[in-house]
Subunit: 459 residues, 2 copies
């Protein structure tokens, strides 16, 4: 029966979309696995719509035959979010890349879901504006909205939740709705926009996104400061936040990650120690003021080698090293696979949480360099695992479970920015307690047949 | 039958709460009218719980007998939000005023719903931290969360949506749930916190709120600049926002409001012209840098008399005048009643929207001074109406309707910060279009019997 339905859907999509619908095995596999370690779960077909109306047609076709629908950006999710756990049709947004509006003076823009953050950045290049949210991957804006992504700029400019102003969404029943708008704030009814942001394709298919933009800072400066121990580095972060200095970025790399970066990116002027990378935005005088304050604070906590990088090429070298942290880590153990954790805790719990997690790594004989968006209390351990080493993999899973539970006990969250996918469904239930029933109530109200990205978020 | 049920609920509440339950007519009336013009709609009883568990008991008692429940802070809502349109029990939070936690280093706090923003401010006084959201009234934090309030600081620090980190909520079925947490960001499932923020008591009863706090700025400075016409003042706001200067406040007063303030608050150094009030936060050098940039921008747009106010007493005098704008406006027409509009539009539409609205005021022979949180595109006209003058009242309503529809057409919203209550239910439906069905779906999922603040939000 199900297969019969599936064949009908495939035939209809083939008829309507021609070459833009495929069941090519390589393409199916490409759509069945993200950047995480979860096993391949390919969809039964992939379709490449070019408009919201086409997305609606796909949703209606699938819904008529009760076939699951999985939205797909570029597949850089980290918790299995795009896997077709129950089969179905993957909607690939790579042919929906229009920048629909850039409103320079209002500092907002509206884009189709398939535009990636770097593509948007290029389009904004001559406008004097920038879009602030910068996850590691060059993800699509649709995927970033669906996951409530953030990155290194969140400490000053916020996450997707703070920067998505409105959405166009295709609902499970094929209805096309608009949420939010272009006003900078509103008290008009329930905040539907923020229910869809972070809903990971389970409540509706996001096809267009209106984003807040920011004026390019007059100047940008970076600085690096190294510490003998991790606790001091985190304490100087707390003090820096309290100082009110509007830090644009504040990133921690532990001694393991720093060693990897020194080797990989030739940061020979630095030592393998816990290290903070700062970025400052403002006028020249503002920046000099900000760096002065931060330098005083870091010095108080034993920070040494506070090195400014004012020239763009020096700054870029630093941030490129930071962005390449993942590859630098991989190079520590050539041929290994990496898997990233993502807890986020209140900032005063951060150093305890990190230190205990690192001790436990040692006990368990696991290798996992650390990078952290420490201004938000968010950090990632990159578990490095030999391919096929099931024992190490199990140990990493067990370490992650322990750490997530610790983060939740500390008032934190199992995911700062990667989302739940299906890898963290059990942790979501633990974290939100009885609220999970409310979440399921919303899911049921929005998608009564349960066809949108099934198997995600909920155990 | 209903009355029978009501009597049973009253008896049970009397028995449980003793003197903390009342049907005293004066108190009922006090709970049946907010600061807007809507007719008195008193509840059948008022109860003063002292804990979340007591709120749960009240909700369960009312729910058992299908009696409506209306949460009440201090009654400063502006769209009829607290009226007992279908009778029922008002839950007054004035005995839930505990500050439960202030986490100085994490820069957050948790308070009971009945704490007012000024009470919280006092408690924070010696912590080096402040809570940023400042609506005109000394509203309760619970009420502010329920309405998604904002105020003059939103341009830099955001609205309640950006500053509520977590909530404790009593659901319609008596369940007590926690949403969000103390992590600065999270991608864990649907954002329930932001569904309750702005839900105006229709989805659950908020009993505790966890708030983001900010470090006190090292220095604060204010400035005033006057313009010959409104368009230039708004254009200089746009340019200021684009410049990336992190303005703490940017408020517009039109020539009518300015004249009222000059008279009421003796601001004799100023003229009755469109006027911008600025506030700057930062170190001394940062502020001098910021003011320099803004002064250059305003000068470019013909702004004159850019007057700095660095001394605290001078600055306070200015902001007191701004905060007393409401009373200053009332004094223009002694004995009159005032009613505040609240549209918010993309900022490039702001000057057109304001200018057309003012022309229409003139045509209709209405008096309505204007204040605006112009950095957000939000402004208020204060319609001044002789008590009992039905014709003027009708004209004001018609003007407001015209203006709201214009704002919606411009991509804006019918309410920037006052909420929907029942005064704007028809506009909400117009603004969100078919999304209203989704909102009703959420309402039904959360409150299937429709007992929570009935008659609000939806027509």
């Amino acid at each position: 029966m199900k297969n019969d339905n599936l064949e009908k859907v495939k035939a209809k999509l083939k008829q309507k979309f021609g070459k833009r619908f495929t069941t090519n095995k390589t393409i199916l596999e490409r759509h069945g696995k993200d950047e995480a370690y979860y096993p391949l779960a390919p969809p039964d077909g992939v379709v490449f719509p070019q408009s919201t109306n086409e997305v609606r047609d796909i949703v209606l076709t699938c819904s008529d035959y009760s076939i699951p629908i999985i939205p797909f950006g570029v597949g850089t999710s980290l918790e299995g979010g795009i896997g077709a756990l129950k089969g179905g049709i993957s909607i690939d947004f790579s042919e929906m890349k229009k920048i629909l509006e850039i409103n320079q003076l209002d500092m907002d823009c509206t884009v189709e879901a398939g535009v990636t953050r770097k593509e948007l950045g290029l389009q904004l290049k001559d406008t004097g504006l920038f879009f602030s949210v910068d996850p590691g991957a060059d993800a699509t804006i649709g995927g970033m909205a669906a996951t409530s992504a953030s990155g290194t700029n969140a400490v000053r400019y916020g996450t997707m939740r703070n920067n998505v102003m409105g959405l166009k969404v295709v609902m499970a029943n094929g209805e096309i709705i608009n949420t939010g708008g272009r006003a900078r704030k509103s008290s008009a009814g329930y905040d539907l926009t923020r229910i869809f942001v972070g809903s990971e394709g389970t409540l509706g298919i996001i096809t267009e996104i209106t984003l807040k933009l920011y004026g390019n800072p007059a100047n940008i400066s970076a600085a690096v400061c190294q510490f003998d121990n991790l606790e001091d580095s985190v304490n100087s972060v707390i003090e820096s936040l309290l100082s009110g200095v509007p830090l644009a970025r504040i990133e921690l790399l532990d001694e393991v990650q720093m060693e990897a970066c020194i080797n990989y990116s030739k940061l020979n002027e630095f030592s393998p120690k816990p290290t903070l990378f700062f970025e400052f935005h403002g006028t020249e005088n503002e920046i000099s003021e900000q760096t002065k304050t931060i330098q005083e604070i870091t010095r108080e906590y034993g920070g040494a080698n506070f090195i400014w990088k004012n020239l763009p090429e020096e700054r870029n070298r630093l941030w490129e090293a930071r962005h390449n942290a993942y590859y630098a880590a991989l190079a520590l153990k050539p041929g290994c696979e990496a898997w990233s954790s993502d807890v986020c805790v209140p900032i005063t719990s951060l150093s305890d949480c990190i230190i205990e997690s690192k001790e436990k790594l040692k006990e368990m004989n696991l290798q996992a360099p650390l990078v952290g968006h420490v201004g938000d209390g968010n950090f990632h351990l990159l578990y490095l695992i030999e391919p096929g080493d099931q024992e190490q993999f199990k140990k990493a899973k067990s370490h992650n479970k322990w750490m997530v539970e610790k983060a939740i006990d500390l008032g934190g969250t199992c995911t700062g920015e990667h989302g739940i996918g299906y890898g963290k469904a059990e942790f979501l239930a633990k974290e939100v307690g009885s609220s999970i029933k409310l979440m399921k109530g919303i899911k049921h109200a929005f998608d009564p047949k349960g066809l949108l990205n099934p198997g995600k978020l909920f155990v």
